[in-house]
Symmetry: none
Subunit: 74 residues, 5 copies
């Protein structure tokens, strides 16, 4: 059972990766909801959309990284 418990940890980190998709989805969802209500303002907020997606995506990728490290580095 040496090193096997780390794989459960990797799975939990993978679960976190999936949860981060909820955060990314919320950002994009609310941008779309607002942009379709007021399309003329959408272009000015595109930068903010990418900032919001990038920070949420980064955490999901950190979670994915934890899973990779648990599988291959520890």
């Amino acid at each position: 059972m040496e090193g096997q418990l780390a794989h459960i940890g990797a799975g939990l980190a993978g679960l976190g990766t999936g949860l981060a998709a909820l955060g990314v989805g919320n950002v994009a969802a609310n941008f779309l909801s607002g942009a379709l209500r007021n399309p003329s303002a959408a272009a000015s907020q595109t930068a903010t959309l990418f900032i919001g997606i990038a920070f949420a995506e980064a955490l999901g990728i950190f979670s994915f990284l934890v899973a990779l490290l648990l599988m291959f580095a520890v």
Copy 2:
């Protein structure tokens, strides 16, 4: 019991894959909700829809990848 614990981890990562579907669904749901309220603006936001889906879907696929790695690579 060699390598068996990794399969629980794969299941947890598969659970994360399913959760990511919620994020993808939210993006598409809000686009549809807005597009049907203001159809003339829908075409201009289609690119944003695909960006939002792509980033959320990517995290779901990372989670699926963790499950595959846990089953076949570690």
Copy 3:
């Protein structure tokens, strides 16, 4: 107890499959909600509806695939 732990993982992935149904449901629910408020625009968004369902459904089917792999392939 050989191979038994993988079955808990399959169950977890099956739980993820069920959760993905929430994402798919949200897409269809928001389409219906919007289409009944503005029926004349519904036809133009049917393609988007299927795109949204397809991406969310794909992640649910990936999750189901993890469950099948855990039961029969590993």
Copy 4:
């Protein structure tokens, strides 16, 4: 304890089946909410209602299938 752990997995998949009912319920709930606000448009969206229910129900039935396979096939 042979084969017993698979039953916990079957239970988890059964939990996913129940969660999928939330997705199916959301579709029908939003249809009813919209149809009672605008009854004349309801007939034109009945096909979409069944499409939405079918895709969400399918994932719930996949989850149920995982539970059955875990109990009787593995």
Copy 5:
């Protein structure tokens, strides 16, 4: 501890049965909310109400079935 673990699985499936009640409740709740705003249209949507309840209830009953099978058949 023979057969005892199956009872945890039955409990988890029972939890899913309860969660499905949320989905069924949403359908009925939205019907009532709409029907009381527009009572004259309620009669025409009664069939849809029963369809929505039936599909969500079916998944809850599948979940209940998993619990029963885990207790008495496996």
